[in-house]
Point group: C3
Chain length 150, copies 3
Amino acid sequence: MIIVTRTVKVDTNAPAEEGFVAIYNITPKVQQHLVESYVANGILTVFLPGTTAAIGTIEYEAGLLSDFKNMWSRIVPRDLVYTHKFLWEENNACSHVRASLMGASLVVPLVNKRLILGQYQQIILVEFDNRTRNRQVVLQFMGEKGTAEY
Amino acid sequence: MIIVTRTVKVDTNAPAEEGFVAIYNITPKVQQHLVESYVANGILTVFLPGTTAAIGTIEYEAGLLSDFKNMWSRIVPRDLVYTHKFLWEENNACSHVRASLMGASLVVPLVNKRLILGQYQQIILVEFDNRTRNRQVVLQFMGEKGTAEY
Amino acid sequence: MIIVTRTVKVDTNAPAEEGFVAIYNITPKVQQHLVESYVANGILTVFLPGTTAAIGTIEYEAGLLSDFKNMWSRIVPRDLVYTHKFLWEENNACSHVRASLMGASLVVPLVNKRLILGQYQQIILVEFDNRTRNRQVVLQFMGEKGTAEY
């Protein structure tokens, strides 16, 4: 078994005019690390250390990204009365709530050195915070060299 | 370590009168593949390649399935103004947004050849798309033969 | 490869006056099991067997916990007309819907015997049910002894 842990660094910025949501396609960087990991079959765990951003997948198309952002403004609006902001004066309570709802981890199977993603499915980092951040997404490849039944 | 990758094929149809949500209980097929995998202890990764369906768990009871569908109609309605639909004329922007919120992966521990699910907890494929689809859910069993501490 | 499966027992109570959401920080117990597992590098799978509770991460701060609870009351209110409750008379349809939306599994990478969590990021069990429960969260550590590239 091989275990290879890597980080993808992303400098993020989720501006107010986008509803404090910014979506980054990290799939190309993931693919590059996959090639270097020598793991042929197994799993990739993608994890976001932090509490105001999340990991997921989406069809990375501009119109859809806008629709996804609008969903967050509807279900977790930024202009509600939150308790967290009064304590910390960071005004980013909605960022935390959104991140906890969406989730910090994703696991993708690897088969014959390929991520088993759909044709249009991209792995994304979603930044919800209200200030610029330097994110370090953790990738962990775990598995074996060789050819799997598929 | 053993790694066994299988697919569960599901022909899906999420009709408009159900709010474009259809829920499929794939647990029996997963159990069958588990028996054939010879993995006694480790993890099962369930992954949906695609951007308009999702993976999760639920108590698979008709009333609850209806309640779950109604939740989607409330928080991600289909009759909003979306940007994605104007670009692609597929009219399935809400399907994408729902799928990205719910998530494409699930990981379930295996102990002594058993999935550690709750008594009423079933693994589900949730179809959100507005046309029939032929889904291939990926199962990846990863672990060892033998008896684990539990 | 080492696979170690443990359970964290939590007696839960999500009272009506908190909107039927109670949030438990299980990170200290997870850390203790990690030390005893002797797994240095690999993954931790956290799984909730059951259909009315969920697993996730959050900054465990009182104001934010309140904000997170309020989000659930907004997007999956308890006083809607649900179908599930008429069948089972348990009145906890909203608990099921919330749990299925949030998700039952979380995967966290381990590097050099450390969980790669953010500074303020805690692993939580979220109880949504309307009666006291005795939860058994499953932890499964899977990986190797030794030092990983990081």
